[in-house]
Each structure stands twice: as structure tokens, then as C-alpha cells.
């Protein structure tokens, strides 16, 4: 599509620069025509007229497009030079220097302690750095391409228009099904858990348009209404275009591959499981009978019921109580800290032996999220970490 439009515009883009040159060219061709028999099609003559009738809007667009092109060209050139310098500094071949190498070099040469990644120095190709801009939205007579152009937000309102179109379609479909005495199939119902609507910024990027809060809430309302229809699964493709999957840690971290122990059983060891001050290593052996050993003792290592429950929770949650053996070594911290550390180790290691679905459930239950909180130190001059001494003015 973009290419097509470019092809369409190319001859026009250089009109401005080549005006003088072209005028001369045209005059010469006209002379030629006068001399020779006018056999060739009068394209050059047409060009004169087209230049005169070119719409003001198109003219100014072409100027902008040309400026943009020139700007991007210089930026690209500078990027290439910078890349070569960087490669030479790092003592590598500039020809084979990739974007990954650039990132590593920048990280090495300009170490930054800033927490936010966006605040750190970067060097990226200009196409990624400068925001994308819309192409001309009208043809050379100034007539816009999009039927909602005058709303100023054609892409956003197109989405809303399409949503209403779908809603009407589905309502009609529902009517026909009711007339046939048919009910929607519950198995086909649209499954929306595990994904969420695009947030405002992502939507803005997708539509290349600013979206105000009110417009965004209108968008959500329209989409929710579409989803609430009994046959909404028929518009699944359209709906899913504006949803993104929920971030899941289980996908972000690969499952550890089990090793084979000397006794022929699979085992997985999770090192450095932490909770409060406690730290431990947990080994899970599969298949097993549900044996648990903690620092050489069985589950009676923990005196309290709550700690034992903590420990067993991931096993019960995934129905693996009698199917695996657990060996844990844990030190430091108190009882609940140690139990929590082992719980995390068990849940993390269990992923190797259970289905994806169970892993997702464990993630949703919060079993795969490490708890980094530790006690905050007491401050001098106050009673606790945050609490102050009682103080009365008079």
C-alpha cells in the first residue's frame, strides 16, 4: 500500500526542485514537437497543466514529505557514521557490526545506573527513534482518501464504525437464530480471560493518532458491548486485534529441563530460593511417593501448622502430593521465611513436571512470583523503621 502511494507520488515529489529544470525541458520538448510530427503522446504538456492544477493541500504535503525524506536521510547517514566509529572503538569489523553489538557497546562505553531503561543512553536506527507519521491523506485534487477524514481521527472512528457494523451484523444473526429456535453454543463462547484491551498508548501507536481519555473510554464501551453479545465469537478476529495477552512470567522464563539422577529418576534443583532472610535449595524428584526432607528431617522440621500448609500448598494446588519427592536445604531466617522459601522452590521446580495450564494457574495464584520483601532496618531517633516516638508539643 505504502509503496503504491509512493509510486503515485514520485513524479510529483520532485516537481518543486526540478521546476526550473523541467520548465526548460518542457520548452525544449515543445519545440521538438513543433519541428517533428506530433506523434508522441502529450505527456509533457499534461505535466504543465497538472502542475498548475495541483491542489494547494497536495503541494504543501509534497514539500513536507520532501523535508521529512531529507531529514531522515541525514539522520540515517549520521547513524551509519556513528556505527562505524563505534565498531572501530570496539575493534570490530564495521561491516558486520549488528544492532546487538551496538547495544552492547553502548552499555559498555556508557554504563548507566539509571533504573528506567528508557532513560539510559541508546543508539538506534532513526526509523525507530523518530515517531512514524501519516502519509498524505488526500489525492492531488485535495480530496481525502478516508471517508471520516474531516473528523480529524479517521482511524479511531473507523474502528468505532466497524464495531457498530459488527454489532448490527451479530444482532441480525441472533435474530435469525432465534427464529430457527437455536441457542448459541456455549463451547464456542468467546474466551477473553488471559488477555486485555490495548491500553491507551498502544492504541494511539496502532492508530497513529492521538486518543483522548473520553474517546478511549468510548472505544472500551463499544468493544465491551460487542463482546457481550451471545454470538461475539463470530467477530473474534476483529476483537482480538485490539486485545493483547496478559504478561505471564511462565512464558518469560523457560521451564528448567529435568536431569536424570543416579537412581534413574528425573530431578530438578532450584537454587537460591529466598523469602525474608531465609535462603535454600530445593530438589524435586519425579516420580516419587511424596517424601519430604528438610535439612535431613521430615515435615516435622516445622512445628507450626501454617508453615506446613505453606510448604504443601503448591503440591496440593497441582495435585502432585504423592507423585514427587522433595529435598530441601534451607538456612537463615525464621520459620515462616524458610517455609516460604521452600514453597517458592517447589513451585518453581514443579513446572518441569506439569502441564502449561497448571503453570498458568500457579502464576495466577501468585506461586511463581518471588517475594523480595525483607525487613526494613530500624532508624535511630524513631521507634521502628517508619514509626516515630510519641511526641507532644506541650
Amino acid at each position: 500500500m505504502i509503496r503504491k502511494i509512493n509510486l503515485l507520488l514520485e513524479p510529483l515529489k520532485y516537481l518543486k526542485i526540478q521546476q526550473n529544470f523541467e520548465a526548460r525541458l518542457i520548452s525544449t520538448t515543445v519545440n521538438l514537437f513543433n519541428e517533428s510530427t506530433a506523434e508522441r503522446p502529450a505527456t509533457s504538456v499534461a505535466n504543465i497543466k497538472s502542475k498548475n492544477t495541483l491542489n494547494k493541500a497536495m503541494k504543501s504535503y509534497l514539500e513536507r514529505a520532501q523535508q521529512h525524506d531529507e531529514f531522515m536521510k541525514t539522520e540515517k547517514h549520521q547513524f551509519e557514521i556513528g556505527k562505524r566509529h563505534l565498531a572501530n572503538m570496539m575493534g570490530e569489523n564495521p561491516e558486520t557490526f549488528t544492532q546487538d553489538d551496538i547495544d552492547n557497546a553502548i552499555e559498555y562505553l556508557f554504563p548507566s545506573g539509571l533504573y528506567d531503561k528508557r532513560a539510559r543512553p541508546l543508539m538506534k536506527p532513526p526509523e525507530e527513534v523518530f515517531p512514524q507519521r501519516k502519509a498524505a491523506e488526500f489525492d492531488e485534487t485535495g480530496r481525502p482518501y478516508h471517508f471520516l477524514f474531516y473528523t480529524g481521527r479517521p482511524n479511531l472512528y473507523q474502528v468505532l464504525h466497524d464495531t457498530v457494523e459488527k454489532i448490527n451484523e451479530l444482532n441480525n444473526f441472533e435474530d435469525t437464530m432465534i427464529r430457527k429456535n437455536l441457542q448459541p453454543d456455549p463451547n464456542l463462547a468467546l474466551e477473553l480471560s488471559g488477555s486485555q484491551w490495548l491500553d491507551k498508548n498502544t492504541l494511539e501507536q496502532k492508530l497513529v493518532e492521538p486518543v483522548s481519555d473520553g474517546e478511549y473510554s468510548n472505544f472500551l464501551k463499544a468493544m465491551d458491548r460487542l463482546c457481550s453479545l451471545p454470538y461475539s465469537h463470530k467477530a473474534k478476529d476483529f476483537i482480538m486485534e485490539y486485545r493483547k495477552p496478559l504478561m505471564s512470567n511462565s512464558e518469560a522464563f523457560d521451564v528448567i529441563k529435568p536431569q536424570i539422577g543416579p537412581d534413574g529418576r528425573q530431578f530438578v534443583t532450584t537454587y537460591e530460593c529466598r523469602r525474608k532472610r531465609a535462603i535454600g535449595n530445593v530438589t524435586i524428584r519425579f516420580p516419587g511417593t511424596g517424601k519430604i526432607s528438610i535439612n535431613g528431617q521430615d515435615i516435622n522440621y516445622f512445628k507450626g501448622i501454617q508453615q506446613r500448609e505453606q510448604l504443601l500448598f503448591p503440591l496440593i494446588f497441582t495435585n502432585m502430593q504423592r507423585k514427587v519427592d522433595i529435598e530441601a536445604e534451607v538456612q537463615d531466617g525464621g520459620e515462616s521465611g524458610q517455609a516460604g522459601a521452600i514453597r517458592y522452590g517447589i513451585a518453581w521446580g514443579l513446572r518441569s513436571f506439569i502441564d502449561q495450564e497448571y503453570i498458568e494457574n500457579m502464576r495466577l495464584a501468585g506461586l511463581l512470583t518471588p517475594d523480595f520483601r525483607i525487613r526494613e532496618r530500624k532508624k535511630p531517633g524513631q521507634k521502628g523503621a517508619r514509626k516515630k516516638f510519641t511526641w507532644k508539643k506541650r
Binding site: N6, L8, N47, A65, H146, Y150, V164, V208
Partner: protein, 252 residues
């Protein structure tokens, strides 16, 4: 007027794909340099203008059709704008009733104007406020290859277009107001703005509307979906007739 060969089809233009300003250096190509001027001969244009009803818009509807589409229903007597009195037939059960003979005359005139503007490659913008009929109007505007604005009217789209669109922009040549009211009490800002910018307007005016700023008014019910659909259908048909004639004349 220009016509470019290999121009993208209308459906492609309206496709929801988002086009971006290219950063690639354009390469000159052979096939796209064929620009030809397509101008309707001026004598033909004069002939079209002289004819009282060149596009035969009078046969698009009958008064009976208007009646069936409930176009004669006005608002309650109390909300009557005195400027609408000439177009009122009478009142029944406290509601004003439009004189459909007059409405038909005005509507034909408006359709004729729309067809002429479409014939001359004008940009036509359908306007309406209110969620109930919004999608309907947008659909018809799209079908006849013209434009619609049925959403919140951000001030200055006409009067400050350069700022609003970020560049010089061609404004519509004709605005068709399917209703002229924002809410029951306030007029659509675009009526005023179009008058300021000298853009011709066609407006469906109900008995509670003020027709003063409109170029071509059509007295009639502007609320019922049936009536709105009727107007949209008629204007679409008139515009398509104008465009078809244009195409025909360009090929001569």
C-alpha cells in the same frame, strides 16, 4: 481537474489500513508518470448548468414516499421556531405537521444542488449529531464515496483547518446537515462555521430549528431513523447520478 491512471480504487482508499509517511528515497518509475488532464468541455458544462433538472432528481421520490417515511412529523407546537412557519401545514394533537408539497420542492432543489456538486468533483460532507443515526449516515456517506462527520465537533475544523489537520487542507464544497441541532436547544457549530467559510450547506430543518444560516434548507422531520434513512438514500442516489454523468462526460 486531474485524473491519474492506475489510481487506487475507492474501496482501497477507504480500507482501514494505516498509511505512513515514507522515509524511503523515491525511485522514479515509468508507469506512474502518465498524468493526463481530464477536463469536461466547457460547453458541456454550460449545457448541464442551463438545464433545470439535468440529473432527473425529480423522479427519485414522490410525496407519498415522504409521507411513508414520516417526514411530515414536526415537533410539539410549543417548540416551533417562528421562522419555520411558512413550511408548516398545520397542527394535529399538539404537533406541527409539515406541508409535504413544499418539502418535496425544497428537497428536489437540494438534491439537484448535491448532484451538480458531485458532477463537478466537489467534496461533500454529511453531518449529523446523535448516536442513534450516526452509523447509518456514515454508511451512506461511505457508499457514495463522500465524507461524514457524525462525532463530537471539535471547534475550528473549518475555521482553523490548518492547525486542526496540521497542514493546508481542502475543505468540503458542500455540507449536508442531516440534522442541524447539537442538542435540543443548541445549533450545530458547523452550521455557523460553514457560513463563515462560505461553504454551501443543505440542511434538514425540523420545526424547532433555525434555517437562517443554511443555503438550501429542506423542512422535514430529522429525528426518526426512517426519515434519516430516506434522506441519506436520496442524497446518495443524487450524488451517484452526478458522479456517473461526470464519468460519462470525461470519457467523451
Amino acid at each position: 481537474m486531474l485524473k491519474i491512471k492506475n489510481i487506487l480504487t475507492l474501496t482501497e482508499k477507504c480500507a482501514p489500513t494505516i498509511r505512513l509517511l515514507s522515509s524511503a528515497v523515491p525511485q522514479p518509475s515509468e508507469s506512474t508518470t502518465q498524468i493526463e488532464t481530464a477536463q469536461i468541455p466547457s460547453d458541456l458544462q454550460q449545457e448541464v448548468l442551463k438545464h433545470p433538472d439535468y440529473f432527473q432528481v425529480h423522479n427519485l421520490f414522490t410525496v407519498k414516499d415522504l409521507f411513508d417515511a414520516r417526514i411530515h412529523y414536526g415537533h410539539k407546537e410549543g417548540s416551533l421556531d417562528p421562522k419555520m412557519l411558512p413550511y408548516i401545514y398545520g397542527s394535529r394533537l399538539g404537533h406541527t405537521i409539515f406541508d409535504l408539497d413544499k418539502t418535496a420542492e425544497y428537497l428536489r432543489r437540494a438534491l439537484n444542488v448535491a448532484a451538480h456538486i458531485a458532477y463537478r468533483d466537489g467534496v461533500i460532507l454529511f453531518l449529523l449529531r446523535g448516536a442513534q443515526n450516526s452509523h447509518l449516515v456514515e454508511r451512506y456517506a461511505k457508499e457514495c464515496g463522500e465524507f461524514a462527520h457524525t462525532r463530537f465537533w471539535r471547534g475550528g475544523i473549518f475555521t482553523n483547518s490548518e492547525k486542526q489537520f496540521g497542514a493546508v487542507t481542502r475543505l468540503p464544497d458542500l455540507c449536508i446537515f442531516v440534522n442541524t441541532l447539537n442538542t435540543v436547544l443548541t445549533q450545530h457549530t458547523a452550521v455557523r462555521d460553514a457560513a463563515k467559510m462560505g461553504i454551501a450547506t443543505i440542511g434538514i430543518v425540523d420545526s424547532n430549528c433555525n434555517p437562517n444560516l443554511l443555503t438550501y434548507l429542506v423542512p422535514g422531520n430529522d429525528d426518526s431513523p426512517v426519515a434519516v434513512e430516506m434522506y441519506c438514500k436520496l442524497f446518495k442516489e443524487a450524488i451517484l447520478r452526478g458522479k456517473a454523468k461526470r464519468k460519462e462526460h470525461l470519457e467523451i
